[in-house]
């Protein structure tokens, strides 16, 4: 049975199997990148996968040629069949080696954390075992057409690479949960030991900015713990507390994200709040909740978790959060706002005067009036500042000091902050032309945009004095069935005050395009590009002149922007 031909066939198929495994090692990491960006949620990953049609084409093409080639060769020139497979295996090696490396070549790069490694390794093992079984099966039952059979099954396996990851993720889930709870308990112990005043912040928008501003203010008088970036999940918080909470920290400002009903309740079991801010209940993340009522229910878990003698600060300009103040009153409840029409306010901001450097404003709190200034712009940001002001005063800080701290506040970056800079600050890919000379006013609002924020940012763009006004945006996401209309509405508004619009990516292209056109912006003033980088290149090398104002509204992670090819 083990004649020479058999041995040769075996070696050739083994070689081809190696190329398939190598292909897996490269490709699986790319899928892994997106699984990670979707927080290891396989429902979200599947949704992304089908929406993006992220099926394999490159590897499958090689397999298809393998099937056809081996089959034809077997019938017409049987002695050459093994060579065909060797050639195609080499080709597969080559194709695999050309895959991008998601750990270096991406906006949100893949981080091979312990969890990612576990999932990847398990998937690699099961894939290799499957491949072995496929080989045995091919030799046993299809020996005459062993190469053709191998390539057919290899094609199936390659198409299922993401499935291997998803299944490994699913299999490891109970283990990960156990591990997480263990870590969470360690975090609870640390928190109990340090015992800071915990201030929880949630809201459909504005929670990250409010957290940054409040932590900055409190940090001026006492060591303050807060989480970096937008870390707002149970696991994210667990890690931050374990790694960064230090003895002596008097305040802990924690952002709590609602991913579904019950998730804030779970976070409150980790960091029980003494005080809370709810910035807004809005139409963000409707995809996750279904209805605004559910969002309200999910966000209400935070005020519910604050004890009776605690502090609650809510946005009076938002009907939903105002309702929370009625339903869950605390010993100290402060309603803040910029509009008196909606009802009584405890902390009121007025006389708002935007300038090219920032905003002058006045605040009234408990009968006293204060004048202030901030480098930030736009009503949503002023609302966040007011929320932080109210909470800091409720914590016992002197209002004068709070206002002095607000003068210094810079948000983490990319939150509607006017930056006077040179055109060369746009880092795009060089295209041979020289960078255009001059200074521009750059308004970065490049973070998780929502209808209210988008409109406010456009109003800021409209209120600034300058040469031409440019909007760069990929539009808003996660708005459920309203996404098209909201983007179109925003674009219509933009058309009335922009001289140039640059649409990034394809996610909201149609909505933005129709909105801009209906709003009256000429076609030649609308430009479509694939990535933010491309937009920057255009601005830096082809468009910008001295005195232009550029608003960058929303910068989406890779997931939405790019159309990766597999």
């Amino acid at each position: 049975m083990f004649d020479d031909q058999f041995i040769i066939n075996l070696i050739v198929v083994l070689f081809a199997a190696c190329s398939s495994v190598y292909f897996f090692t490269r490709r699986a990491k790319r899928y892994m990148q997106f699984l990670q960006q979707e927080d290891y949620d396989h429902h979200r990953f599947k949704k992304w996968f089908f929406a993006r049609k992220a099926y394999d084409t490159r590897g499958s093409l090689v397999c298809l040629v393998g099937i056809a080639g081996s089959y034809l060769c077997h019938n017409y020139a049987p002695t050459f069949t093994p060579y065909i497979t060797v050639l195609l295996a080499l080709l597969l090696f080559y194709v695999a080696s050309r895959e991008e490396n998601p750990m270096t070549q991406a906006k949100v790069s893949l981080k091979m954390t312990e969890r990612a490694k576990r999932i990847y390794n398990l998937a690699l093992c099961t894939y290799t075992v499957s491949l072995g079984l496929v080989m045995m099966f091919s030799f046993r039952h299809f020996y005459d057409y062993v190469f053709t059979a191998f390539w057919i099954k290899n094609l199936v396996l390659i198409q299922f690479i993401s499935w291997y990851l998803v299944k490994s993720n699913w299999l490891l889930d109970p283990y990960e949960k156990g591990l997480q709870e263990n870590f969470a308990n360690q975090a609870r112990a640390i928190l109990k030991d340090v015992d800071p005043v915990v201030i929880g912040i949630t809201g459909s928008y504005g929670k990250t900015s409010t957290k940054v501003i409040l932590a900055d203010i409190l940090g001026a008088v006492a060591p303050t713990f807060s989480t970096p970036r937008s870390i707002n999940s149970y696991m994210g918080m667990t890690r931050e507390i374990r790694e960064r909470m230090k003895p002596g920290q008097k305040f802990a400002v924690v952002e709590m994200g609602a991913y579904h009903v019950g998730s804030i309740k779970r976070m409150c079991s980790l960091t029980p709040p003494h005080a809370a801010i709810v910035t807004a209940v809005g139409e963000m993340h409707l995809e996750l909740f279904g209805s605004p009522e559910n969002v309200f229910k999910a966000k209400s878990e935070l005020p519910q978790a604050v004890p009776e003698d605690g502090v609650l600060v809510v946005n009076g300009d938002n009907v939903w959060t105002r309702k929370m103040a009625e339903l869950y009153p605390k010993k100290k409840t402060l309603i803040y706002g910029l509009n008196k029409e909606a009802g009584p306010l405890d902390v009121y901001m007025y006389d708002i005067e935007p300038t090219s450097k920032g905003t002058n404003f006045a605040i009234k709190i408990q009968g006293k009036e204060f004048q202030g200034f901030t480098k930030l712009l736009g009503e949503p940001m002023l609302s966040n500042i007011l929320a932080s002001f109210a909470m800091a005063c409720a914590m016992g800080l002197a209002p004068e000091l709070v206002l002095a701290a607000i003068r210094n506040v810079k948000t983490e970056s990319n939150r509607l902050e006017p930056v006077r800079t040179t055109i060369s600050s746009f880092i795009g890919s060089p295209n041979g032309r020289p960078i255009r000379q001059g200074d521009i006013l750059r308004l970065n609002d490049a973070f998780n945009s929502n209808p209210v924020g988008f409109r406010a940012a456009l109003d800021v763009l409209g209120s600034q004095k300058g040469n031409r006004k440019v909007l760069v945006t990929p539009g808003m996401v996660e708005l459920g069935p309203k996404q098209f209309d909201e983007n179109k509405k925003a674009a219509q508004h933009a058309a009335t005050l922009c001289d140039q619009a640059i649409i990034v990516g394809s996610t909201n292209k149609d909505a933005l395009l129709s909105g801009l056109k209906e709003g009256g912006l000429e076609t030649e003033k609308i430009r479509e590009v694939a990535t933010m980088k491309e937009a920057f290149s255009y601005l830096a090398y082809d468009y910008c002149d001295d005195g232009d104002i550029v608003l960058i509204e929303n910068d989406l992670p890779d997931l939405y922007e790019s159309n990766p090819r597999f």
């Binding site: 940090g219 001026a220 006492a222 200034f373 016992g396 800080l397 004068e400 003068r407």
Partner: protein
């Protein structure tokens, strides 16, 4: 490694950079620049990097700039080391996992700190060098500490007859007290003492212009104080001269009397105070030209012809006075401010480990001292100092206990 053509063994010089400081990045540039300039016949440079975490690393990979951009994953390619605070170890100790007990020592002859700012320039690491009884370049503990505190250096230099601007120090604890209730009264004290706006607020123990703000009214002073106290436990407020010129001079140790370099006038991009960007990010350097990064890349006028020679001489002689008064050693850069309305020259601050070791000033001095020669001198001074110190008696034996 090994020996040079004269048959002398090359001395191993640990060039240390990075550190737990806001000027971390600048120190990396100074360190890497310096390694290239070291005389390869006399010295065998060995890079030692202190990460922002405070961990020490060594390894050839540190010479490559891409290493720092690929952190933290690239840290796995280098060896973690430490310097034990006991005499006679003879170098850096390799830190290994607890199971592998055979920790070994990397022999080092001379330590050359190229840090800027906290923990590296302020006497902290110099204290460790003293405990370990090793040869190290630059200032000792006292000189480093004095040099780092803008307030204390001013007071001492003033006592030696060099003019300084009045100043007021505000401590963070007085602002923290009662959740900030005293901020306004502290601010009023400052205004009462220093007079009219504009005023200058800076962190008391920091260089690189980080945290420096010019305040033109009460509210701005409040926020400027908070801003400075973000970076330091003490803030210093000074009056702001209307018409002024910054003048810098470098001073180098010499066996007989320290010598001063030519003067320079740094030029700011905005016509106002130098910012961090001016100092380190602007510069006319082409990408890839490492020799002109960091402090060396600043736009400046060296030995300006239209500056009164008397002012130049005064700056150079004040600089030497300050260098000696502050117990400095090696090479320092001393920054002055010239009030152009009345010609008074004020001492502003001393940098005991200046950016790029001020080599750009020395190569334009008469006679010129090139970077390689500058480093040779700094190391020689360190060696002489170490020998002198070793002749000081440290022990008197156990006598009191025997009574």
């Amino acid at each position: 490694m090994g020996t040079n053509s004269n048959g002398h063994k090359r001395k191993k010089v640990a060039v240390m950079f990075g550190g737990r400081s806001v000027e971390h990045e600048i120190s990396v540039i100074t360190g890497l620049q310096l390694i290239k300039a070291l005389d390869p016949i006399r010295w065998d440079p060995y890079p030692v990097y202190i990460a922002p975490s405070g961990k020490w690393y060594c390894g050839k990979k540190l010479l490559d700039k891409s290493f720092y951009l690929a952190m933290p994953s690239s840290l796995s390619e280098v060896t973690e080391v430490t310097l034990l605070p006991k005499p006679g170890v003879g170098g850096l100790t390799i830190l290994q996992d607890p199971e592998d007990r055979a920790s070994s020592v990397i022999p080092i002859d001379i330590f050359l700190p190229a840090f800027h700012g906290t923990y590296g320039e302020d006497g902290s690491i110099q204290g460790l060098f003293e405990l370990a009884d090793v040869t190290y370049t630059g200032c000792g503990v006292l000189g480093s500490i004095l040099g780092m505190s803008k307030y204390h250096s001013k007071k001492i230099v003033e006592a030696h007859g060099v003019p300084v601007l009045p100043c007021q120090v505000i401590n963070r604890e007085s602002v923290e007290a009662d959740f900030g209730k005293h901020l306004t009264s502290l601010r009023d004290q400052v205004i009462k003492r220093l007079g009219n706006f504009p005023l200058f607020v800076k962190p008391c123990n920091l260089g690189s212009s980080i945290g420096v703000v010019r305040a033109t009214c009460e509210e701005e002073l409040d926020s400027a104080l908070l801003h400075a106290l973000k970076y330091d436990v003490a803030a210093m407020v000074e009056p702001c001269l209307d018409k002024k010129l910054e003048i810098n001079v470098s001073v180098l140790d010499d066996p007989l009397e320290p010598i001063a370099s030519v003067v320079e006038i740094p030029v700011s991009s905005t016509g106002k105070e130098l910012t961090y960007e001016d100092k380190y990010l602007r510069g006319g350097s082409k990408k890839g030209d490492d020799s002109m990064q960091g402090m060396a890349a600043l736009t400046r006028v060296i030995d300006p012809e239209d500056l009164d020679p008397a002012v130049k001489e005064k700056a150079r002689s004040y600089a030497v006075t300050a260098f000696k008064a502050l117990n400095a050693s090696g090479v320092s850069r001393i920054d002055f401010m010239l009030d152009t309305t009345n010609g008074v020259l004020y001492f502003n601050e001393i940098n005991t480990i200046p950016g790029s070791f001020s080599f750009y000033l020395w190569m334009n001095s008469k006679p010129p001292v090139f970077y390689t020669e500058l480093l040779n001198r700094i190391i020689s001074v360190a060696q002489t100092k170490a020998v002198r110190k070793s002749s000081v008696e440290r022990q008197v034996g156990f006598k009191a206990l025997k009574k």
